[in-house]
Amino acid sequence: MNLTLRIWRQTGPDSAGAMTTYEVTGISPDMSFLEMLDHLNEELILAGDEPVAFDHDCREGICGACGMVINGQAHGPERTTTCQLHMRHFEDGDTVDVEPWRASAFPVVKDLVVDRSAFDRIIGAGGYVSVPTGAAPDAHATPVPKPVADLAFEHAECIGCGACVAACPNGSAMLFTSAKVVHLNVLPQGAPERESRVLDMVGAMDDQSFGGCTNTGECATACPKGIPLSSIATMNREYLRATLKGGARR
């Protein structure tokens, strides 16, 4: 199949970018979107042009490295990561717009590559459990009820790809932050830092250039891991509870 691609090209963080049109031929419907871009890049390299830069790593949909906005949708038309999106979901002759995540907190590094270290700063503020080092604890030392374990796991699935921020009209990181807050706050291991975690992580989130939540729900529709919108409500509840408990930001 043949496609017309309009790809955002930008040589560096401070240079102006523009949509550039490429005619790509000989695409197999079994290719992933990234393999299709590899295919384009091979042709670009052979022609002596600069290949399109994009982030990728595992290509199994579990690492969260890849991500681009395809036809205005984060990760494209299917609810999966870009690496797991296959060309069979496009029609021969389609024109496909490919853009980087757009958010002040995610500055473009080059072409489709954005800097997502703002997420790392949120995680660094409280997205962990402080445990004493030493021998591994016995597996049954801390009982976790099955529904709680399932809830925690549902939120632990977040791969930090940034699709929620890219899809949100406000460039808000609420879904990402809430995934980690809920994941750790529902578990007994996370209980000692329950209040400081949510206060510090929301504080770190507000310190980046993310917008606020207007409950549009676009994040949860774009999330390739299905983090539910209700986790934002849970984080809001945790935040208000921690604030009222007097745990003003440390």
């Binding site: 309009r6 949509m19 906005v69 036809n71 205005g72 949708q73 717009d97 853009e99 757009r102 958010a103 002040s104 907190a105 949100c168 009209p169 406000n170 460039g171 808000s172 929301v202 504080g203 989130m205 507000d206 250039s209 993310f210 917008g211 606020g212 939540c213 207007t214 409950n215 549009t216 729900g217 676009e218 529709t221 539910p228 919108l229 209700s230 934002i232 409500a233 849970t234 984080m235 809001n236 509840r237 945790e238 935040y239 208000l240 509870r241 604030t243 009222l244 007097g246 003003a248 930001r249």
Partner: protein, 234 residues
Amino acid sequence: MALATRTERPPSLIGTVWHSTVGKKAVMAVTGLIMLAYLVAHMMGNLKVFFGAGEFNHYGHWIRTVGEPFLHREWFLWAARVALSASVVLHGVAAFQLSRLDRAARPEKYRRKRHRASYATRTMRWGGVILALFIVWHILDLTTLTVNPNAQQGRPYENLVASFDRPAVTAFYIVAMLALGLHIRHGFWSAAQTLGANSARRDRALKFVANALAALLTCGFLAPPLGVLTGVVS
């Protein structure tokens, strides 16, 4: 060496809430719910217009005497006015500040964007502006009677009919009430979400209540002007 203890004063609760996006949204949610509760009472009061000038005017005068003899005449009315004005201002200021932040967080638009959010969700900001303008007009029209040329102090029923005898006023009123319905449709559910009262299990019920409240208030508020328009109220 002794370890230093934490002695600095922690930031105040109000400051923490107002300076965080989550806290500011909670302020919007609470003020929004205060205004929503008022609107339900206001709408029910309005419907008395269908029971004639006597009952409606009696109700209008009773509002001034609520709480007597414990409260002085009009104290309750002024307390409500202060609380509602504070709510409107806090709601609007928070919305303005958050919107500025939101716009700055997404400076570059996508070339081809498919809207997945509902119409009500996407019109919250401009709908809110319409409602703010409407509130100003509404107070000038039916409370202070400044822009109601045929109005007389102390005769709310006659003033209401005189106001809606002007087609442009009725049209503006209808637009504002439709905006109100849309605002509540997203706003009520959104407030539940912001205050952490929502969950996957309650989501559908809350959306149903939001839609029901929106429909009820819109219809209830549209009834008096449509009554005047059709001559049922005159």
